[in-house]
Subunit: 497 residues, 2 copies
């Protein structure tokens, strides 16, 4: 049974009392100071996973970490069965909710590994399922690491012999006999299987940015010092890294525009619809949408509609034609502006995860996570490496949504430069405050070409089969609104089939 | 059946089409502009309740408001049955979660009135229960209003005759027959009872700060204009109020200190405990606390422990002795510092509601909602009227917690001025960063007398039978920690009985 992953954790590591007592105070002080530096700098979150076999000291270690450091700035999560609010959303929702903000330490006692491994051990899922979930985890952890999180994954190990000894010892004493339940012995019978599956999972998820650290769990002093030092080394190392802007050594391998053709310029913006046709079509398509969202089967799905577009492209008007067909109790609209303080202390997708709709509901995003590859790219708020990886992160995010039966419909509303100018000028005349034109709007206009490039890249890289972009020719508002309504209905209808 | 409350809403109000069409566009524009001014100033939240009898146009009105205004800045809540995450907390938790921040409009389709009224109609509760819940609602709304919320409570009314006509008309047409269910007729049979109980509830909760507005619901044009104008008038009125600091015309009727005696000075700070006694007592009381929190009955309650005290009084050390007895998976510690942006846009208790523990868990607050009547009072961050009303608001908050089987234990750790000075000086020598002394700490010392007064008032006004303060003599850390542990265990033990 000599699996490489666990071999070093079966060597019988021990630390004697004297040495432990000599080393513990200094370790403790250093950890506490590191924690306070972390808190002060608020530079990154620390995510610690405590996993492994039963009886290998997981609980004791977590309690010890709370004792060593300041427990006021540690958030420990032992998640029980997911609540209804959680099962209504994709599986990772509960972990997103629990992520520590920058400067804090989050300990996950139950982590994203727990359920995938256990359900495979109990044969509720296949190896292929397991692999797929490990792949998802890799993407999740890579995203966390790219966003700056320090991830420490501990696996507490006991050999089969050690496990058996432990249970027998506990049973031998009257005082501890109660701690051994039938379930413990049932688990023990699954030891080999659990070990095999764990090893496979660990191997697949031991990455450069988030490697597993396997700790022999039999000796309390050994495992305590080992874990304490690993945490100290990692946190201190990161804190002491010279702060410098990430070097943008490479230029992203974009295809440079060599001719005048792109997906946006291909659009026939002259398409229009006369008022009478529009009003009939509006009635028809709003009725259709209303009917679909009242369908009893709609209660099993949810919808996310994303609206992006140039300034003054008519996003607001299109959204109102959509909501005009819906019951106000069914939807929420999220206008996306600058992130709040709490949101800035988290990975950029965090603010969108928190707004995911429950079953039977619609979430409408007026601007969205695509800000990362649009305004943040063009304005230089996101580094090239940040927006380059965003494409894959976003695709992964949307895949999780779609897999959870959320219909993701994405609209890009496109107008011509001339049409925008006309609308800006019109708006300057209007008394409706919501149409006010700001200096920002005029400034953005000057970056028309940069935005165009960003939009084309975005469409190329994130228009997936499961969550395609719909480009809407929006010079004519009638035409645009009907296209939006029709597309939305079609997408919902096919999801209800 | 001529009950005064509803009489004016049975007069057969109607608006003809011509008049409606003449007035609607201007109303709409004015509403939209008011909404944008509100959003820009972020001065206060608008809370709109839409309640009343079935079929009186509640849903239609909400949809219309979404159409008239910008739905992106309206949050409408139609709360279904509470989720487990919600039932784990006091009944008002779900409404606190849904409160709109300053600048936004929140529409409650299901409100804090829905369940109390319906459960009384269905005879699941008594009149006394209903009255008690209306009293709670009054306190809640008064708090919201004091915090600046604009509260508009609409009750849509139909007379019994109108209700019957409506159902018969719907049934007569093939196209609408499906809309009338058996449940509608069952509800209709309860009409008189529902009316009586609603009237009682409305009467008891029609206050100066949040009066009910009863709207006759039969004519769609009438009710639309009536509601639209009421909202416009209220929002515009509040927006256009001259902005001035609330005049502090009255001095709060405090008992001025006329001698040298108060609850703090009465404490015998000389009490101490030698190291050996302490270590034995620590073992004993931590063991006790550990045993109690592992008791199966503990899963039915929760615990909130509040730690307040002078700077350097030893709150952190006391908390660590408490958590040392607990499983890290069972508790969360919330160190309370300055509120975040999102928290500042809400009533001050909002940030504490969001951290309420679930069943079987402990929440430990290192500083708490009492900041309102301590630091905010002394530093002048809260106006006199704000901190004066806070006492009652806090008592009400804690009453809700206790009634929900949350054990609320509050500690004030008191040291003498001399002891504080000694500790400050010691801390300046230490290498532990968490003990750093800041300029703030020295500044607070100069306000010793003001803090003392604030603490005495706080204890006088918020030490209730259900959530008493425990004053802890903390010049000796050993003595203080044991007193904290013992008190906490006693309180939990009596809750488990």
């Amino acid at each position: 049974m000599g699996s490489a992953m666990f071999e070093s954790a079966e060597l019988g590591h021990t630390i004697d009392k004297e040495r432990y007592e000599a080393e513990e105070p200094a370790l403790r002080e250093a950890l506490l100071n590191a924690q306070y530096d972390l808190l002060e700098k608020k530079g990154f979150p620390v995510i610690i996973l405590i996993s492994g076999v039963d009886g290998a000291g997981k609980g004791e270690t977590v309690n010890l970490l709370h004792e060593w450091m300041d427990p006021r700035h540690i958030e420990t999560h032992a998640l029980d069965a997911p609540s209804q609010e959680e099962t209504d959303r994709p599986a990772f929702y509960r972990f997103w909710r629990a992520l520590p903000p920058k400067g804090k330490i989050g300990i996950f006692f139950t982590s994203w590994y727990t359920e995938p491994i256990l359900s495979r051990v109990h044969r509720q899922t296949s190896n292929a399922d397991l692999d797929q979930r490990m792949e998802q985890i890799r993407l999740f952890e890579r995203m966390l690491a790219s966003e700056g999180a320090l991830i420490l994954k501990f696996w507490f190990h006991l050999s089969k012999r050690q496990q058996k000894d432990r249970l027998e010892k506990l049973e031998a004493k009257a005082r501890t006999r109660w701690r051994v339940t039938d379930q413990d012995w049932r688990h023990f019978k699954l030891y080999d299987r659990f070990r095999r599956i764990s090893e496979r999972s660990l191997r697949e998820t031991s990455t450069a940015e988030a490697p597993w650290i396997v700790v022999e769990g039999a000796d309390a002093r050994y495992r305590s010092l080992a874990v304490g030092r690993a945490i100290l080394g990692a946190v201190r190392g990161r804190l002491d890294e010279p702060v410098e802007k990430p070097t943008e050594s490479h230029t992203a391998p974009f295809l440079p525009p060599v001719d005048n053709v792109n997906v946006l310029r291909r659009l026939d913006l002259a398409q229009s619809m006369d008022k009478e046709t529009y009003e009939q079509a509006l009635d028809k398509h709003q009725g259709e949408l209303s009917r679909l969202t009242r369908n009893p089967r709609f209660r099993d799905i949810s919808v996310i509609a994303v609206f992006e577009g140039s300034d003054a492209a008519g996003k607001g008007g299109a959204i109102r034609r959509v909501t005009g067909a819906l019951d106000a109790r069914q939807y929420h609209i999220f206008p996306i502006a600058a992130p709040t303080e709490e949101e800035r202390a988290q990975p950029y997708l965090w603010r969108f995860w928190r707004h995911l709709p429950r079953r039977g509901k619609l979430a409408i995003f007026d601007r969205s996570w695509y800000g990362r590859v649009l305004v943040e790219r063009v304005e230089g708020f996101a580094s090239e490496s940040a927006f380059m990886r965003a494409y894959a992160e976003i695709n992964d995010f949307e895949e999780q949504l779609v897999r959870h039966r959320i219909v993701v419909v994405k609209f890009w509303l496109q107008i011509s430069e001339e049409e925008q100018l006309k609308r800006f000028k019109e708006r300057e005349q209007t008394s409706f405050k919501r149409f006010k034109i700001t200096a920002d709007d005029w400034r953005n206009r000057e970056k028309w070409a940069a935005y165009e490039l960003a939009v084309c890249d975005m469409v190329d890289r994130t228009s997936t089969e499961i969550a395609p972009w719909t480009l809407v020719e929006a010079n004519d508002k009638h035409f645009a609104r009907i296209k939006v309504l029709r597309t939305l209905s079609e997408r919902i209808e096919s999801a209800l089939r």
